[in-house]
């Protein structure tokens, strides 16, 4: 039997109150694409951080080609041929591609040579990238390419990829997969972290499934159904949101001819956006990050005011109204960025309940705040949405991402909106909680509210949307009924192979 490239033996890592990894054992073979599957909080990140030298295991050992391997820091891991593409990019917007790559190198070569190398590597692997473009101008897919090429320049033996497709269009995913397959054919092993089962079935040779820090099973993805893998991951049968056939009412929110200049150098201008969402309807808006999602939410929530006529609620012009006035009329929103936008990190959940709840929950009289009522409202949200926290007096930043997301969504849903706009409602939330959040959006729609769900997760949008539209560079495609849309059609709506070629500028 051949020696595996990397062998993990009984890796255990405990943090106060939680065992992140409990005697995890598995092997990654040479030239193998190995999937690491698991819900959020299953311990995937901790595990790869141990492999990459960011975290040291409490016990257990790793063998790299049969030799003991215990990287004290990422530099050592890179020295041993292990590279990692993180889910969140660490790039400087204001610098160009080669400058960004040079920053991450121990001994960067002269800029001209580096640019040539970048061009060579990017062409060899089918990831076209202009080394002189400013990163701030790149799409999410192109930014990811910068990260991948940064790794490939080290000539890695093992490439770790953390949820690489979460920001890509279907077409971009296709291109990424071709690159990964080429790498595999050259003998590079890939550890591929994801919870998207279909893509794992397409791409991976082998899969290890983690649940609550333990290795609960291994399988060959191509021979295992997505449902079986999901149930291994979740540990119980999956609950899919129910959709009842619904009648839609009159138009609730109506946006017409909306154009808003970009708020900052790296923002996106909205261009001639038209949309209508009816009472009882869920409008799903897809698109790759950075195509105007934040800007659209701000315009709908009232953070950005526009000409009065551009946004209408039940036929009345509300474009000039700010967030408070819109809340009073029943237009609520939950922005994507939980910490710092939807919630103030250092403030308590009670204070964060006050943040958007003051108007509709009667938490203030003549400007004076009723903290008792705010606390009750926070407690209601915590209880109804199963937010795991010791109590409403805890700071928002002390909650895990998923729990804070439940709080943020719950806070708006429980205020009984007429129109609810959410951006990335289940980003970073575990599968069970995500299903609950989607169900709550559907319940809201069933009660007659109009819901606009902006998301990059196409599976999510297909699951809950009645109509579907896509944002691409600040333009919104015409909404189409979601039923019957194929992945290819959606891909084309998202902008086709947008950003897939080297820009000619």
């Amino acid at each position: 039997m051949t020696v595996p490239l990397l062998s993990l033996q009984g890796l255990t890592k405990a943090y106060p109150g939680v065992v992140a990894n409990d005697t995890v054992t598995f092997d990654i073979g040479e030239g193998e694409v190995h999937a690491l599957l698991g819900e959020n909080g299953a311990g995937k990140s901790t595990l790869v951080k141990m492999i990459y030298g960011l975290v040291k295991p409490d016990s257990g050992q790793m063998l790299l080609r049969g030799q003991p391997y215990a990287p004290p820091e990422p530099r050592a891991a890179r020295g041993d041929g292990i590279a990692m593409v993180f889910q969140h990019f660490s790039l400087f917007d204001a610098l160009n591609v080669s400058e960004n790559i040079a920053l991450g190198m121990e001994n960067p070569p002269p800029m001209k040579d580096l640019a040539t190398r970048i061009r060579e590597v990017s062409e060899a692997y089918g990831l076209p990238l202009d080394p002189y473009r400013t990163v701030g101008d790149l799409s999410a897919g192109e930014r990811q390419r910068v990260e991948i090429i940064r790794c490939l320049l080290q000539d890695p033996k093992l490439l770790i990829m953390d949820e690489p497709t979460s920001v890509l269009t279907p077409q971009e995913v296709e291109i990424l997969f071709q690159t990964l397959q080429k790498l595999r054919s050259e003998g590079t092993s890939i550890l591929y972290i994801s919870h998207k089962l279909e893509e794992i079935r397409t791409l991976c040779d082998h899969a290890t499934i983690l649940r609550l820090g333990k290795n609960v099973g291994e399988c060959t993805p191509a021979e295992t159904s997505a449902r079986d893998m999901a149930e291994l991951m979740v540990g119980s049968t999956l609950h899919t949101p129910e959709r009842s056939g619904r009648e839609f009412g009159a138009a609730a929110m109506d946006v017409s001819g909306l154009s808003v200049p970009s708020p900052s150098a790296f923002g996106t201008a909205l261009k001639n956006v038209h949309l209508t969402v009816r009472k009882g309807e869920v409008l799903g808006i897809g698109g790759v990050a950075g195509n105007g999602q934040d800007e659209l939410l701000n315009v709908l929530s009232g953070e950005t005011v526009t000409e009065a006529d551009a946004v209408k609620l039940n036929g009345e012009a509300i474009g000039q109204l700010g967030p408070v006035a819109r809340r009073r009329l029943g237009v609520l929103a939950a922005p994507e960025e939980r910490l710092g936008h939807a919630a103030a990190p250092d403030m308590s959940l009670t204070e964060n309940a006050m943040l958007t709840g003051s108007v509709r929950q009667n938490l203030e009289t003549n400007g004076f705040l009723n903290w008792g009522a705010a606390k009750e409202f926070a407690e209601t949200v915590i209880k109804s949405f199963d937010v795991r926290t010791p109590g409403p007096e805890n700071a928002a930043r002390s909650l895990s991402g998923g729990n804070l997301q439940k709080f943020v969504i719950g806070r708006e849903v429980l205020q009984d909106p007429d129109v609810l706009v959410v951006n990335q409602p289940t980003w970073g939330v575990d599968a069970a909680a995500a299903a609950d959040i989607r169900q709550s959006l559907l319940d809201l729609a069933a009660k007659g509210a109009a819901v606009i769900c902006i998301s990059q997760d196409l599976d999510e949008l297909m699951e809950i949307s009645d109509s579907f539209a896509a944002l691409n560079e600040g333009r919104l495609s015409a909404p189409r009924p979601a039923a019957g849309l194929t992945v290819d059609e959606i891909g084309l709506m998202l902008g086709g192979a947008h950003g897939m070629e080297v820009a000619h500028d």
Partner: protein, 360 residues
């Protein structure tokens, strides 16, 4: 190896304890400093912290504490509102001067006519003067995006020129034998901000400072505006999401701090100082910045910090005259206090962890 680890949420215990620990550390290191200067350290510390309150001549120093502490607290309360929202009014000194000039000018305009309403009118105009001076950086920031730190700071020097002009020209005492300076308001009963109880140091400025403390406390803890101020400081995007209009907040915060600084100036010129003179301002507007931070931008904390700061001023003066400590040493001592406070402040949000170096 020592490393810092971010706490999941700010430690309440540390946020209350840091000012006390900072004062203790200042005493220890200040004592060392005095010892190195060849002065008895314990006696020096006692002279600064104990004598003004409980020493032989405390009956004289205690009222001074109120006189010096009140303007500091009044100004610092106003500044803290802006600081909490991330709006940095550094020019309270200028607003203090303008408040004093405008208030005194209104009072002197009535001289020698006596009426009950003169002093209240002066109070209102003092506040308006400070407010107007603060509106300059506020409006420039809102309209043109200028930096309020620079503009408010530079306006201090403009105000100082106006002060010189007032004492040499337009408010000069016509019966002052050519000396610079206005008429002494202490000799004009309708305009005199006298001690409410003779010899107590308790003048209207002290009352105003107490009211400001209570007002700020209620505003920050119970009112939507205070909530919005805190929210803007903690998370500006969340504040916009909550419906805060940033421009309005800038105008309000700078306006309030300017008005309070103007009030402090008016109470000073009409009471303890008595007259507009070239060197009327003694840096309360700048010291109040320290007081605001020493008090953790919390109204009650600011009240205590104002008292402490006044104590080190008075105690420092005594130490200079009794022990011959150089005034620079006293300034270093006061600087240490802020230094230790800011350094220890880190412990509110971080904890220090010790771990053995791992074998690579």
């Amino acid at each position: 190896m020592i490393s810092l680890e971010k706490r999941p949420q700010p430690s309440r215990a540390w946020s209350l304890a840091t000012p006390l620990v900072a004062v203790l550390a200042t005493m220890v290191f200040g004592g060392l400093l005095f010892a190195m200067l060849g002065k008895p350290p314990i006696e020096a510390i006692r002279t600064i912290f104990w004598d003004p309150l409980f020493g032989e001549f405390a009956f004289y120093y205690r009222p001074q504490l109120l006189v010096k502490g009140a303007p500091l607290v009044l100004i610092a309360i106003g500044l803290s509102l802006g600081f909490k929202a991330g709006i940095w009014n550094i020019g309270a000194e200028g607003q203090y001067i303008i408040g004093a000039i405008v208030g005194a000018a209104v009072g002197l305009a009535f001289y020698p006519y006596e009426a009950w309403y003169i002093f209240p009118l002066m109070v209102i105009s003092g506040a308006l003067g400070g407010w107007a001076w603060a509106m300059i950086p506020a409006v420039l920031k809102v309209r043109f995006g200028t930096n309020e730190i620079l503009v408010s700071l530079m306006l201090v020097y403009v105000a100082e020129q106006l002060l010189a002009s007032a004492s040499l020209r337009f408010l000069k005492n016509p019966e002052g034998f050519g000396f610079p300076g206005s008429r002494n308001l202490q000799d004009y009963p309708s305009a005199f901000n006298a001690d409410l109880i003779a010899g107590s140091g308790m003048h209207w400025g002290v009352v105003a400072a107490l009211i400001a403390v209570i007002f700020a406390y209620v505003l920050l803890n119970r009112h939507m505006l205070g909530f919005h101020i805190r929210l803007t400081g903690e998370a500006p995007r969340a504040a916009r999401f909550a419906g805060v209009n940033p421009s309005r907040l800038i105008l309000l915060c700078l306006g309030m701090s300017g008005a309070l600084a103007g009030l402090a100036g008016l109470f000073e010129v009409s009471g303890p100082a008595g007259q507009i003179s070239i060197d009327f301002n003694v840096g309360y507007g700048f010291t109040a910045i320290i007081v605001a931070f020493l008090g953790r931008l919390h109204p009650i904390g600011i009240m205590l910090a104002g008292g402490l700061m006044a104590l080190t001023y008075i105690g420092g003066d005594i130490a200079q005259s009794n022990l011959g400590l150089p005034s620079a040493a006293i300034q270093v001592f006061q600087g240490m206090l802020l230094f230790f406070l800011l350094a220890l402040d880190l412990l509110t949000n971080y904890r220090i962890t010790l771990h053995k170096p791992e074998v690579a």
